[in-house]
């Protein structure tokens, strides 16, 4: 355990993270692509139509992983927010900032595919149902956090403000998960992640799980690439400031740059 913690702390050094992520990214992207292709093949050509929902069940194979990832990325951001506020770790800020657009995109995919599934099955694209509304609130929180990052120039100050708002917004994640149990919703209750096991037939469950793992690896690869870009952006910012200070000093001494 102590060794694992030590290696995690080692990895949390930005320079080591850049080296480690450069080596891992191609493998992660390849594994994600293969799993997504295999999952799509099973979802489109092997999984049967549902006895009630017919062929529209195929929307589930992207709708459900998108919903899981939208919540997973927010949970990762909440953990990073703790890293920012408790340990003031710069890589926690970076992880949090890089995760927000990815989580927002999966929340948007979940809402769009849900609407396109809702129209043929429920007769409407949208209802102000607790599950749908709480997912919309998640998307709005994501957008608010992205906007807050852009408003505040100084990264460490922005990180603390965003971290506080992220933790406040985390209350919405269990609301999304349990909304179908707590309220009478048009949205169906959980059929995979539930007490007593999944209620989906294996012919549909396997493609769903393969796609969920594939999309998760894909999202983690994107997150890693976005974190690398953010680390470089901060180095660019620091070097630009240092260069400007050096030029100022040289100008004050009357020397050419």
């Amino acid at each position: 355990m102590a060794r694992m913690m030590a290696s995690l702390i080692d990895l949390a050094n930005p320079t080591r993270f850049m080296r480690f992520s450069a080596a891992l990214l191609p493998w992660l992207a390849t594994a994600a692509t293969l799993l997504i292709l295999a999952g799509l093949y099973l979802a489109w050509f092997v999984a049967p139509a549902d006895y009630q929902q017919g062929e529209t069940i195929r929307i589930m194979f992207i709708h459900v992983p998108a919903a899981w990832l939208a919540m997973m990325f927010y949970s990762m951001m909440a953990l990073s927010a703790l890293g920012t506020l408790v340990w003031r770790h710069p890589l926690a800020d970076v992880a949090q900032k890089a995760a927000a657009p990815i989580g927002a995109c999966f929340a948007l995919i979940c809402l769009i595919t849900g609407a396109l599934w809702g129209k043929p099955m429920w007769g409407t694209y949208w209802v102000w149902d607790a599950r749908l509304t709480s997912m919309l609130v998640l998307l709005l929180i994501y957008l608010g956090l992205i906007a807050l990052w852009r408003v505040l120039d100084e990264p460490s100050r922005a990180a603390r403000a965003v971290a506080i708002l992220t933790l406040v917004g985390f209350v919405n994640v269990p609301i999304i998960k349990f909304s179908v149990d707590w309220w009478n919703t048009l949205h169906q209750p959980a059929s995979v992640l539930r007490m007593g096991g999944a209620t989906i037939h294996p012919s549909m469950l396997w493609p769903l799980l393969i796609l969920a793992v594939g999309f998760t690896l894909f999202a983690l690869a994107l997150h890693m690439a976005a974190m690398r870009a953010e680390i470089m952006r901060r180095r660019v910012r620091t070097l630009t400031i240092l260069e400007a200070e050096r030029l100022d000093r040289l100008a004050a001494q009357g020397m050419p740059a």
Binding site: I59, C105, L116
Partner: protein
């Protein structure tokens, strides 16, 4: 493509629109992240080539 459309029954449009929207959003996100990564890498390389962040020899002397 038309075989796939027929295979998906009367709601094929909804199914294909779902997959199309997801592909479009994920492709846009991937492109944006890759472009940002490349832009930051170039900016960093330019600054490092100029020797930004290091004290100049004249300044030290």
């Amino acid at each position: 493509m038309s075989g796939l459309l027929a295979g998906f029954g009367p709601h094929a449009g909804f199914i294909l629109a779902s997959y199309g929207a997801a592909a479009l959003i994920l492709a846009g996100l991937t492109l944006a992240i890759l472009r940002d990564h490349r832009a930051q890498k170039r900016a960093l390389e330019t600054l490092e080539r100029r020797g930004a962040g290091r004290r100049s020899t004249r300044e030290r002397s």
